[in-house]
């Protein structure tokens, strides 16, 4: 090789970094970080304090959920759906049960329908109180609102434990109904909780919603317009805070949601404050649904006549619910065997996360944390 001709100089200029970004400070927030809601990393390029580019990096919690489901029977995946969005296990269960019940037409008894609605709305309360607590924790109110919110969440988790045996990973839904009925006295305890909840919401609103520091830090931060949200496929309270009236409980009216009267709060500005307030208002609407459901719930069986062996004919189906974080959907392709051919989860947290860079650019790094908190992600769902 020593006698080979010298290599010509490359015709292109080697540039190490993007010239404009050479002088920027690159900070990697995470994956070990007290406030990124799980193992989630954001590679942020800062110009002083302002975010210029942001790259979210996730996958640290990937557990192969979808591939595992292809090797198990349909019902065996039910406990794994609990672990997707581990705060809202009941909602995950319902989405999967809905998809599977479309594959095999099983009528769900009335009492099970009412109990499903009650569990889903209690889950919504759990999620929104936790979110409010975590959001304020990110803002710097060192844990006080978080612990007040968790006090309420504990009461609801006690109810879940009495009904299903577990606080968080409930595994309560089955194809065609529920696993078991609620114990005696459970409905009265739930009525008592629902009766006492508005007092907690009033206390929270009085303490927080007119606090000048919270107003100054969350208003006009992370503004998401309605058109941008629709383009990006955002769903859930984040979409409604940008002013788009799209709530699956009204649009699809799955379960028996068409029997309940409730309103859908809509935001105008689409900033962090709106996302925070929409969740507070949605909690009140959930309380209305709960009161109506608890009033009208009939007696009866909680399990329909599901086939013993779940072997649906070849079909494709998509079942979705309005989980507290957005549209949680399950896309199943059945091929006539007991195991699904393809099992796909539409995670609302992941889809909502795609606009993170657009929301954060131009704000300071402290705002990036607040914006991430307002999107409300759970890494179990993002990574599956």
């Amino acid at each position: 090789m020593s006698t080979a001709a010298p290599i010509a100089a490359p015709p292109y200029k080697l540039v190490r970094h993007d010239e404009a970004e050479a002088g920027l400070l690159e900070v990697s927030m995470g994956p070990h970080h007290p406030s990124t809601h799980g193992v989630f990393r954001m590679d942020v390029k800062l110009d002083g304090e302002t975010v210029v580019r942001l790259k979210p990096v996730f996958g640290y919690l990937h557990r192969n959920h979808e591939k595992l489901a292809e090797g198990m029977s349909y019902l065996s995946s039910m406990p794994f759906t609990d672990r997707l969005d581990y705060f809202n296990s009941m909602a995950n269960n319902w989405a999967y049960a809905l998809a599977a019940e479309k594959l095999v037409d099983v009528p769900v008894p009335e009492r099970a329908q009412y109990l499903r609605v009650i569990m889903a709305e209690l889950t919504r309360l759990v999620n929104h109180t936790s979110l409010v607590g975590f959001f304020l924790n990110d803002l710097g109110a060192l844990g006080t609102p978080l612990l007040y919110a968790f006090r309420e969440r504990e009461r609801i988790l006690d109810l879940f434990e009495q009904a299903s045996g577990a606080r968080m990973m409930c595994n309560y839904f089955r194809f065609g109904g529920l696993r078991c009925d609620v114990p005696a006295g459970w409905l009265d305890r739930t009525r008592a909780l629902v009766g006492g909840f508005p007092k907690f919401l009033d206390e929270f609103e009085k303490l927080l919603c007119e606090n000048e520091i919270i107003l100054a830090r969350t208003q006009h931060v992370g503004v998401l317009s309605g058109a941008q949200a629709i383009n990006a496929g955002i769903t859930g309270p984040m979409l409604r805070a940008s002013g788009v009236n799209y709530d699956l409980r009204k649009v699809d009216a799955y379960g028996i949601y068409d029997r309940f009267s409730f309103r859908v709060p809509l935001g105008a500005a689409g900033d962090c404050y709106d996302r925070f307030m929409i969740r507070m208002l949605e909690m009140r609407e959930s309380l209305k649904i709960l009161e109506q459901a608890l009033r009208d719930i009939p007696e009866g069986p909680v399990m329909g006549n599901a086939p013993r062996v779940f072997k649906p004919a070849a079909a494709e189906v998509y079942g979705r619910v309005e989980s507290p974080k957005g549209e949680l959907g399950f896309y199943l392709i059945a091929d006539g065997t007991t195991k699904p051919y393809r099992y796909r989860v539409r995670p609302p947290s992941l889809i909502n996360l795609t606009v993170l860079e657009d929301l954060c650019v131009g704000h300071s790094i402290a705002d990036a944390v607040v914006i991430l908190g307002s999107i409300d992600i759970v890494l179990g769902e993002v990574d599956r």
Binding site: E212, A216, A366
Partner: protein, 377 residues
């Protein structure tokens, strides 16, 4: 010469010992108060070893914490500047201890003529106080720089910007009291408040609010604890400190809180003045500490209640709100002290100050406020 040194030691050592033990008590107090605000109990686990005595209410927790800090491994990051890394906590601690000697804290032992003994009765104590507390800024910067860590650097820069900006309202609001008394000496200021405290005057009240808020920012306490923001940049400028150096930072921060609160008590609350002090001179020490702890209670309460300000909002608050207000306060106080007629000046001053505060706060953020929401059926 030896007796001079012994004399100096006899005056300053008690101050250091008293405030260092109060530091331990304050950490316990903070954890308990924060816990109760947050619907918890707080530490109550540490009990006296080798006994069965269980109800210590967590009072031995500070001792356990101190022991833990002592035996922890001292980690210095690989590329860090070892000398500056070591020097920064010392530089954070020494000015705080120095200014504690300047306070008019009547040591509770008297010499033969029953005169009050102060640690250092300087005649320009207040000015020296502000000068020495400005060294704390350097220590914070040194800590952020020496750790060779982007988070620490960010935290250090933010901390220095914050502390430098809030020095101006701090000094200007103290200048109101100095103007009223006519001297920089802490003893003379306390003596001038023997009849009524300065906080009961309109300009004194405004000056106290400005001073209190600026002192929260100087010592990096909530809601101005951006440099130590746990949820954003871990611990800011002391991310890379472990073990005893971290304990020294902690000690320095709390001692500077004592010092600034001591100055606030001196300037606005009459120092050691209180009921029954003429009869029992040693009570002035107790009153002084009680007033300091009243202010510390409010500081801890604020920490558990209020979220944090963002850095540009913090700076806007200092430069656009506190500084004009403190300059106006100075002017108003000068007018009121020249026209020696309280019945005329007091309502006028109160009105002017209130109007200024209200007007300035309206100027801050024009389009921020509570909102109402629409519903869709």
């Amino acid at each position: 010469m030896i007796d001079t040194l012994i004399h100096i030691l006899a005056l300053t050592a008690p101050v250091a010992m008293i405030f260092a033990s109060l530091f331990a008590f304050t950490t316990w107090l903070e954890r308990k108060i924060l816990a109760r605000i947050q619907n918890r109990i707080g530490p109550n686990y540490i009990n006296i070893p080798f006994t069965k005595f269980r109800k210590t209410f967590g009072l031995l927790q500070p001792a356990a914490d101190g022991f833990k800090m002592l035996v922890k491994e001292d980690i210095v990051p690989h590329g860090a500047d070892r000398f500056l890394h070591l020097l920064a906590p010392i530089l954070a601690l020494v000015p705080a201890m120095m200014v504690l000697c300047l306070l008019p804290f009547d040591l509770p032992f008297a010499n033969e003529s029953m005169k009050r003994i102060h640690a250092a009765a300087l005649d320009n104590a207040v000015l020296l106080f502000f000068g020495i507390t400005s060294i704390n800024t350097l220590a914070v910067f040194m800590a952020g720089w020496a750790s060779r860590n982007k988070y620490s650097l960010l935290g250090g820069m933010r901390a220095v910007a914050q502390m430098v900006s809030y020095e101006i309202p701090l000094v200007l609001s103290a200048a109101v009291v100095i103007m009223a008394v006519g001297s920089l000496s802490a003893q003379k200021i306390v003596a001038a408040q023997s009849t009524h405290w300065f906080i009961f005057t309109p300009w004194g009240l405004a000056a106290f609010f400005i001073f209190f808020i600026a002192s929260l920012a100087e010592t990096n306490r909530s809601p101005f604890d951006l440099p130590e923001a746990e949820s954003e940049i871990i611990a800011g400028y002391f991310t890379e400190y472990s073990g005893f150096k971290f304990a020294l930072f902690f000690l320095g921060e709390y001692l500077s809180i004592f010092a600034i609160n001591g100055l606030a008590v001196t300037l606005f609350f009459g120092g050691g003045n209180g009921p029954w002090v003429q009869a029992h001179p040693w009570l002035s020490c107790v009153w002084f500490l009680a007033k300091i702890f009243g202010l510390i209670f409010i500081i801890i309460w604020l920490r558990g209640t209020v979220p944090r300000l963002r850095v540009d909002q913090l700076m806007a608050f200092a430069w656009k709100f506190l500084m004009p207000l403190s300059i106006l306060n100075l002017f108003v106080a000068a007018v009121a002290l020249k026209v020696q007629q309280p019945w005329l000046t007091w309502p006028l001053c109160a009105l002017v100050l209130y109007a200024a505060a209200h007007g300035l706060s309206r100027l801050q953020q024009k389009n921020v406020g509570p909102r109402t929401y629409q519903y869709a059926e």
